[in-house]
């Protein structure tokens, strides 16, 4: 793995910012403990932490950001899976549920998952918000009242229609759905001058993706914020009903082991934004008050299943904008609190993720790999959290303090998995597939819809047999103004502690039913603006436009 010095012809805003004097401390290089004081300490630099940092810095507050991962930038983004996954993802992109049956993709770097996501941008669906209003008392979370916040973040992050034609991988979803009369539509993306390369998941090499890494975080740093990287938030310290400190451990260069040095942060206010799994884990590790035992509960995944299909024509699913077409048909054709629904999308295929996702081994697996360029893939994201038999998973701590998610898949959810595999196979055959491979240890390739339907209906739906993945972890710090239902208020304030907020996807009382990035941007923009006013007594700042 040759690490070339900057050979990229693309200007790198992070390197320029560092040269201009940004306050960034890579904790792996510390030779002694450090103490730092600020108005606000923000833990995590993903969608929630990034948005919060910019708004608070614009409000004139002194901000310290704490990030467990490294600061990487376009000069480092070489589009190689073997380098990108260990550097940019939690647990080398191999984080798993306790039973190891669900593989979880979450970012771990400055920018969090926004650095490595596939740019799909959806506002929180109206029916999800209605469910929250009705069941969690979140009265001011209507599509109308959130609309200005979504608009603000759409403008800030250049979210809009993607003008180029979908790549073949996405167009097969469009064509197959159209054959069956299933509505499909275009996905909005947060990109600016995108090269249509297809490597969003390994960090954008051209800075086209308007992630937190190239937008809000540089903006906060330019306004004097301090950023600690390779710094794991270990424990919040409490006195009475207040947080009086945050104790962090410095991690070594690979981010695997503590160096032995600590960073002590003292602030007037603390914002937890480590993402679902890590945010509830920090609060659990700290012994945060949790009288109703809600912390870490109701953690949702959009459990995701995959169907691959072979075509005579090349698909080249690695090339071009990764996700540009979707269908919500199977979310919209039934009640949100009825049988579980699912969203359909077409994921990019790259050799490592594809090879490890496809089941089997030996000559059979090798034969599948030979067809890599001719393979189309669909995925179905199941909308969990809207039914008594879909109450999500639970984050708890292992003996070393690291978090682990238990996510039992109920019969109710497995039923959705089976229906999703059927829907995807039918669409793939309608799009002209010559064989369809539901990703399941007991499944084979099927050459007709009829054969596939029979086989999918007969498969055993069990953990470790059906390949289930997730790139959307949500919940675990449920938001509700009723302290019996949630540990954080509708204003993002931790009920039991006066100067603690949670600003990330862990707030969501259910899954979103869509890729969550814009939901996190819009909702945390609203929360951070409220917090800015609370802390300064002034109206919230307006965001810079691109």
């Amino acid at each position: 793995m040759a690490k070339s010095a900057s050979s990229s012809p693309i200007p790198d805003p992070i390197q320029a910012g560092l040269a201009s004097g940004w306050k960034v401390i890579d904790a792996s290089t510390l030779v002694a403990d450090r103490e730092v004081e600020a108005d606000v300490a923000i833990i995590g630099t993903g969608a929630g932490g990034g948005v919060t940092a910019e708004i608070l810095a614009l409000a004139g507050l002194k901000v310290v950001l704490v990030e467990e991962g490294p600061l990487k930038s376009s000069k480092d983004f070489k589009m190689h899976e073997a380098e990108a996954y260990p550097e940019l993802y939690q647990e080398s992109a191999a984080r798993k549920t306790r039973d190891k049956a669900i593989n979880i993709l979450q970012g771990r770097n400055v920018g969090g998952s926004t650095t490595v996501n596939w740019t799909s941008s959806f506002r929180t669906p109206g029916d999800t918000l209605s469910y929250w209003q009705k069941n969690f008392g979140l009265n001011d979370y209507s599509a109308e009242s959130l609309s200005p916040w979504f608009t603000m973040m759409e403008q800030r992050l250049h979210i809009g229609a993607w003008a180029a034609a979908p790549n073949e991988n996405n167009d097969l979803l469009r064509r197959g759905a159209a054959q069956l009369g299933i509505p499909a539509a275009a996905i909005q993306r947060n990109v600016k001058a995108c090269w249509n390369l297809g490597y969003c998941g390994m960090g954008c090499p051209t800075n086209a993706k308007q992630s937190m890494l190239v937008t809000t975080i540089p903006s906060a740093l330019a306004r004097g914020a301090t950023l600690f990287t390779r710094t794991r938030a270990d424990k919040l310290l409490f006195t009475g009903d207040k947080v009086h400190g945050l104790s962090c451990v410095a991690l070594n260069e690979r981010g695997l082991a503590p160096t032995g040095h600590r960073i002590h942060v003292r602030a007037k206010h603390y914002v937890v934004a480590g993402g679902a799994i890590n945010s509830p884990a920090l609060l659990l590790r700290s012994g945060a008050p949790d009288p109703q035992h809600l912390l870490g509960k109701r953690t949702f995944l959009h459990p995701t299943v995959i169907s691959a299909a072979l075509h005579d024509k090349k698909v080249d699913a690695y090339a071009g904008a990764p996700q540009t077409i979707y269908s919500d048909h199977f979310l919209q054709t039934q009640a949100i609190d009825g049988a579980i629904g699912y969203k359909l999308e077409a994921p990019p295929l790259h050799p490592l993720l594809f090879a490890s996702t496809m089941s089997g081994f030996g000559v059979q697996h090798a034969a599948m790999m030979k067809q890599f360029a001719h393979t189309h893939a669909l995925l179905a994201l199941l909308r969990d959290g809207f039914h008594d038999e879909s109450c999500g998973g639970t984050v708890s701590l292992q003996d070393d303090g690291s978090p682990v998610l238990d996510y039992p898949i109920s019969a109710f959810v497995w039923d959705g998995v089976r229906r999703a595999l059927l829907s995807m196979a039918e669409i793939q055959f309608a799009a002209g597939a010559k064989a369809v491979y539901p990703v399941h240890e007991e499944a084979d390739g099927y050459s007709s819809w009829n054969a596939a339907r029979k086989a999918i209906n007969a498969l055993a739906y069990e953990p470790l047999k059906t390949r289930v993945v997730s790139a959307h972890v949500m919940g675990g710090c449920t938001m509700s103004d009723d302290p019996k239902q949630g540990i954080v208020s509708s204003r993002g304030r931790y009920h039991e502690l006066a100067n603690l907020s949670v600003h990330d996807g862990s707030l969501f009382p259910t899954s979103i039913g869509a890729n969550p990035q814009l939901s996190i941007y819009g909702i945390t923009a609203k929360l951070a603006s409220g917090l800015a006013t609370d802390l300064t007594g002034k109206p919230p700042p307006s965001l810079p436009l691109l």
Partner: protein, 174 residues
């Protein structure tokens, strides 16, 4: 000597599965009691290397030319991939290799009567299928670990790309 050890039947596998599960759990808990924090990273001992050298070609099928150079490459790609995982996971993988390489567990749990270098590919394939379809979650997840750790890094390596029709990323930016 080896010839008198009967090839394990499906039945002994199931029994072994149960004891193996206990063995893995015991190894894990002894380990956790002994070292509550910061476990050491995975070390590719010679025994683990010889097990992987035997398993990798069976896992990869005809995607790998079975020369010593290719097999060494497959093993070192696995080693690199493990080195990026959390230390806790590295320790779990160390336990898995202990199980694969200790004589009794190799014989009765894995079903490989002789040392790994003398293991027959069909016996290795049978062991992988048995673990893959085991009714014990620990064996299934151990199979998945071997699958992902051998297959993922192999195809992530640029030397395999041409064989699957993947041109790799734009050279000007990579």
């Amino acid at each position: 000597m080896a010839s008198i050890v009967a090839r394990p039947t499906r039945r002994t596998f199931l029994k072994a599965g149960f004891f193996g599960t206990l063995a893995l759990m015991a190894a894990g808990s002894i380990y956790r009691i002994a070292r509550p924090e910061s476990p050491p990273g995975f070390v590719m001992h010679p025994q683990a290397r010889s097990a992987l050298s035997a398993i990798a070609p069976v896992m990869l099928g005809n995607a790998i030319a079975e020369t010593p150079v290719d097999i060494d490459k497959a093993v070192s790609l696995v080693d690199d991939a493990i080195s990026g995982l959390p230390l806790r996971t590295q320790q779990e993988i160390q336990n898995l290799f202990a199980l694969l390489t200790l004589g009794p567990s190799r014989r009765f749990l894995v079903g490989i009567p002789d040392d790994w270098p003398r293991a027959k590919p069909e016996d290795i394939a049978a062991f992988l299928q048995d673990w893959r379809h085991s009714r014990f979650a620990l064996m299934q997840s151990a199979y998945h670990a071997l699958h992902d750790l051998i297959i993922g890094p192999w195809y992530a390596d640029a030397s395999s790309w041409a064989s699957v029709g993947y041109p790799g990323p734009l050279k000007e930016l990579s």
